[in-house]
Subunit: 457 residues, 2 copies
C-alpha cells in the first residue's frame, strides 16, 4: 500500500466526518458584503484557522485587513526537494436574496439526492474543505509529500479589495512553485477537466455629453445633436457584421489557437446545443470562423454591459437627453493586456466621436488574461490525478471568465495558477439553491491526494 | 371713438383691477397631477366659471370628467353674421418642485421689475385672464363683436386624458369658425409673432430581448448576441451622417418649405448663436441643407429619448444583458401622420433587427402636425391686431413642439387653431420662478380686443 493509497483509504473511512465538517463551515453565514455579518466573517476565518492548526500548520495567522481578515498558514514538513504549493481559496460567500426562492435555509445545509444545498457549498467552501480534508488524510497517514502555503481570503465576493496589499506585505512568505486555485469547476460529474486558461478583463464607462441640460425634444429636436444617438452610433460601430471588434489593433496581440488546442476544445461537451440551452437562446452569435466554445473562452470580445440615457420610466417624456452613458467591457485573451485594450478604445473613440459632443472614459476594472502551459509539471500531475480518480483522461478547457486573483498572483508573485476545483457548471453559484455535488466532493478529495503525490514525484 | 378704442380705453383704465384678478387666480394652487389638490382644482374651475357668468356668458357649465372638470361657456350676443370663436385654455398648472429654488412663494404672486412671478403666471392663467379681460373690456363698453365659446380644461399638464370624450359629447355645441388657442408665446417683448405651424409626434418604446435572463459576460460573452449592441446598431442606423432619417419613405409626405416661408423664417431672431445659447451647446447639428430654425420647427426628426440596458449603477458588473430598451420619438411635420411614422419604423426594424433577438414596439403617444394657412381670415386679423398694438408687423413662426389639443380639435371638430398667446420663451414654464411679463400681458389684452374687432370686420 503506497502512501497515497493509505491516505485514500483514510479519506474513504472518514466521509461522514468530512461531510459533518463541511456542514459546520457552511452554517456560518459569512456574507462579506453585509456589514452585519462582520462577526460571522471573523468566525469563519477562525474556523478555517482552527482546522489548519489542528492539521499542524505553523504558523497559522488571521491577518487583519481594512475589511475582512485573511487566513494564512504554512505546512513545511515535506521531504527536501519537494515542491511548495500556494493554495488559494476564500471563505466568504454571496448574499442569499431572493431568499424566498430557496427550497431550504441557505445556512442550514441540506442533502437532497446527491447534492448538499447551502450558500457557499460550491463557491467555494466545498472546495476549501475538500483540499483541507485531502491534507488531513495525508497528514494522518504517511504525511504530506509537498509543502503548502494557504491563503484563504474573505473578500473574493466583493472584488478582493485588500488582497493586493496582503500579497505585497507577504511576498517573501508566499514564495512557492505554483499556485493551486480551487475556485473552479469540472464540466460534468463524469467529465474531469483542467482549466488552463482564463480571459482577462478591461471594463470602462463611457460618458457622452451634448447640451448643458436636458432639453425639450419638441423645442430643440433637429437643432442640436442627441448624445444617445451619438453613443448608439459609436457603440454600434465597435462590432462589424461578422462579429469582429473594430477597435484599431484590437487583435494584434491575440495568441492564435493552435490546431491541437482546437482539437482538444472540440472534445468538450459544449456543442452549439449546449450553449443554446445554457444561455437560453435559440440562435448563437459571434465572431465568424470560430465555434461558440472558442469564441466564449479563447477569443476576445467586447460587450455592452449597461446603457442609460434620458427617460426610462413608464410612458413617454419628450426629452432630448443631455447625457448618455454606456458600460462596456472586453474579455481579453493572451497576450492582450488591459492597457492594449484601452489604447485600442481610445484610438477608436477619437475618430468616432463627433464634435457635437464631449466625452470621457473611466477605467472601472481590469485584469490580464492567464494561461498555463499544458506540459508544466503541475498540469501533468493534475491530469494524472484526475485520470486516476475518474478512470478517464481529463479534458482541457479554457474559461471565458476572469479570476482577478490569478492575474494578481501572476503579476505580483510570478506564479502560474493551476485551476483545480470540483464544482459543476449548474451549481447555482450566486443564485438561490446553491449546491455541491457530493460524489464530486469526495472524488475531489481523492484527486487532491493523488495530485499531491504526483506533483511531488 | 370706435368700439375698439372704447374697449382699449376701458382696459387701460382697469389695469389695477385686471392685475388683481390675475393674482387671485394664480393664488389657487391648481396642480392637476397632485391628488391632494382636488379641492383647489374645483375652486379654480369655479373661479373661471364665475368670471364667465359675470361677463354674461350663458350657459356656463362646470362639466365633470373622470378627473378634473372642464369649464364650458357660451357668449352669443354678437351681430348676425359675426364669426364664432372657440377659445381654448387650461386652468391647471405644473407642480412646483424643487420649491426651494423659487425666490418667492409660487402661489403668492409677486411683482419684481416687469414680471409677475407665480406658478401658472405664463402657463397659462395669464393668457386666460388676458383674454377674459379683453372680453370684459368689450362687454362693458360697446359689446363683443364675435360669438365666443370657452373651453377651459383642468388636465392639460397631465396630458388631457379626458378632453377627447368631452369634445365628442359637446361636438355640436363646440361648432365654431376656428379655434383660438392662447397656450403659446411671442418671441420677445418687442417682437410680436404668430405661430402658424406645430409639429406632430410619434413616440415609441422599442424592446429587444436576447437570452432568457441576464448572463455572465465572462461565461457567455462571444457565444451569444448582446441585445444592447443590437439595439445600438439598429438605433444608430436610423440617422445618416448628414442628419437625415433613414427609415424607408420617412420623408415621402413632408410638405416642402416654400421660398417665401424660408424667407420669413430667416427674419426670426433665432440665428445659430440664439440656438447655441438657448440649448447650451457649442456646436449645432442637424439635417444638411436647412437652418437650425427650419430643422427644429419645420423638418421632421427622430430622437432617442431614453436608453436602458443591463447594469447602470456605480462601478462594474459583468453582465451580458438579456434586454435592452429605447424610447424614441419623431417630430412630424405636415403632411406626415403618426401612422406614416409607424409604417416607416416597422419597415426599417423588420430589415435591421437580426435573428439573434426578439423585439417589440409599443406605441406610447402620437398626434398629427398642424398648420394654419397664413392667408386665412383669422391669421390676417391676428396680424393686423399685433401690428396695431406693437407698431410692427408680427413674424410668422412654426413651433417645434406639439400641442395635442390642436390636433384633437382639428381631427374631431375640423377646426384650425390660431395660436395666439403672450408668454415669452424665457418664462420658466414647468420650472422654478415661472413669470409673466406684465407689459406683454397688458399688450395681449389690447391685442385680443383688436383681434376680435378685426376678425369680425
Amino acid at each position: 500500500m503506497t502512501a497515497a493509497d493509505a491516505a485514500i483509504q483514510y479519506a474513504r473511512d472518514h466521509r461522514d466526518q468530512f461531510l459533518s465538517d463541511f456542514k459546520e463551515l457552511v452554517r456560518i453565514p459569512s456574507i462579506s458584503t453585509l456589514p452585519e455579518r462582520q462577526g460571522d466573517m471573523q468566525r469563519a476565518a477562525e474556523w478555517v484557522a482552527g482546522q489548519l492548526t489542528k492539521l499542524g500548520f505553523d504558523p497559522v495567522q488571521i491577518v487583519p485587513t481594512e475589511k475582512h481578515p485573511i487566513v494564512f498558514g504554512e505546512y513545511r514538513h515535506a521531504p527536501k526537494g519537494a515542491p511548495t504549493i500556494l493554495f488559494y481559496g476564500h471563505y466568504d460567500v454571496q448574499p442569499v436574496d431572493p431568499v424566498e426562492l430557496w427550497k431550504s435555509d441557505p445556512f442550514e445545509p441540506t442533502v437532497r439526492g446527491d447534492d448538499l444545498f447551502a450558500r457557499g457549498a460550491s463557491d467555494m467552501k466545498g472546495q476549501v474543505i475538500a483540499h483541507m480534508k485531502a491534507v488531513e488524510a495525508m497528514v494522518r497517514t504517511e504525511g504530506l509529500p509537498v509543502n503548502l502555503k494557504y491563503l484563504i481570503e474573505g473578500e473574493e465576493e466583493i472584488g478582493s479589495p485588500n488582497i493586493g496589499k496582503f500579497v505585497g506585505d507577504y511576498k517573501a512568505k508566499l514564495a512557492s512553485d505554483f499556485c493551486l486555485n480551487a475556485d473552479t469547476n469540472i464540466l460534468a460529474p463524469d467529465i474531469p477537466a483542467i482549466t488552463y486558461g482564463l480571459r482577462g478583463l478591461a471594463y470602462y464607462e463611457i460618458r457622452v455629453q451634448g447640451a448643458a441640460a436636458d432639453l425639450h425634444s419638441g423645442s430643440f429636436g433637429g437643432a442640436v445633436d442627441n448624445p444617445a444617438m451619438v453613443l448608439s452610433q459609436v457603440l454600434g460601430g465597435m462590432r462589424d457584421a461578422d462579429g469582429r471588434i473594430t477597435l484599431p489593433g484590437y487583435y494584434d496581440r491575440v495568441r492564435p489557437l493552435t490546431d491541437e488546442e482546437r482539437a482538444e476544445m472540440a472534445k468538450l461537451p459544449q456543442d452549439d446545443a449546449w450553449w443554446m440551452k445554457a444561455s437560453g437562446t435559440k440562435v448563437l452569435f459571434g465572431e465568424e470562423g470560430f465555434t461558440a466554445t472558442e469564441r466564449a473562452t479563447a477569443r476576445p470580445t467586447l460587450e455592452i454591459n449597461g446603457l442609460l440615457s434620458g427617460f426610462t420610466g413608464v410612458g413617454s417624456k419628450t426629452v432630448l437627453p443631455a447625457r448618455a452613458m454606456a458600460k462596456i467591457s472586453m474579455r481579453l485573451v493572451p497576450d492582450q493586456t488591459p492597457q492594449d485594450a484601452r489604447r485600442a478604445l481610445d484610438a477608436y473613440l477619437k475618430k468616432a466621436m463627433p464634435p457635437t459632443v464631449t466625452w470621457e472614459v473611466e477605467d472601472l476594472a481590469g485584469c490580464t488574461p492567464a494561461i498555463v502551459r499544458r506540459d508544466s509539471p503541475a498540469v501533468k500531475a493534475a491530469r494524472q490525478a484526475l485520470e486516476k480518480v475518474w478512470g478517464r483522461a481529463p479534458l482541457f478547457s479554457r474559461q471565458g471568465g476572469s479570476v482577478p486573483v490569478v492575474s494578481l498572483i501572476q503579476d505580483m508573485l510570478g506564479l502560474d495558477s493551476l485551476m483545480l476545483g470540483f464544482g459543476l457548471p449548474d451549481d447555482n453559484l450566486h443564485a438561490p439553491n446553491e449546491k455541491q455535488h457530493l460524489p464530486n466532493f469526495f472524488r475531489g478529495i481523492e484527486a487532491y491526494i493523488w495530485f499531491s503525490h504526483m506533483v511531488a514525484a
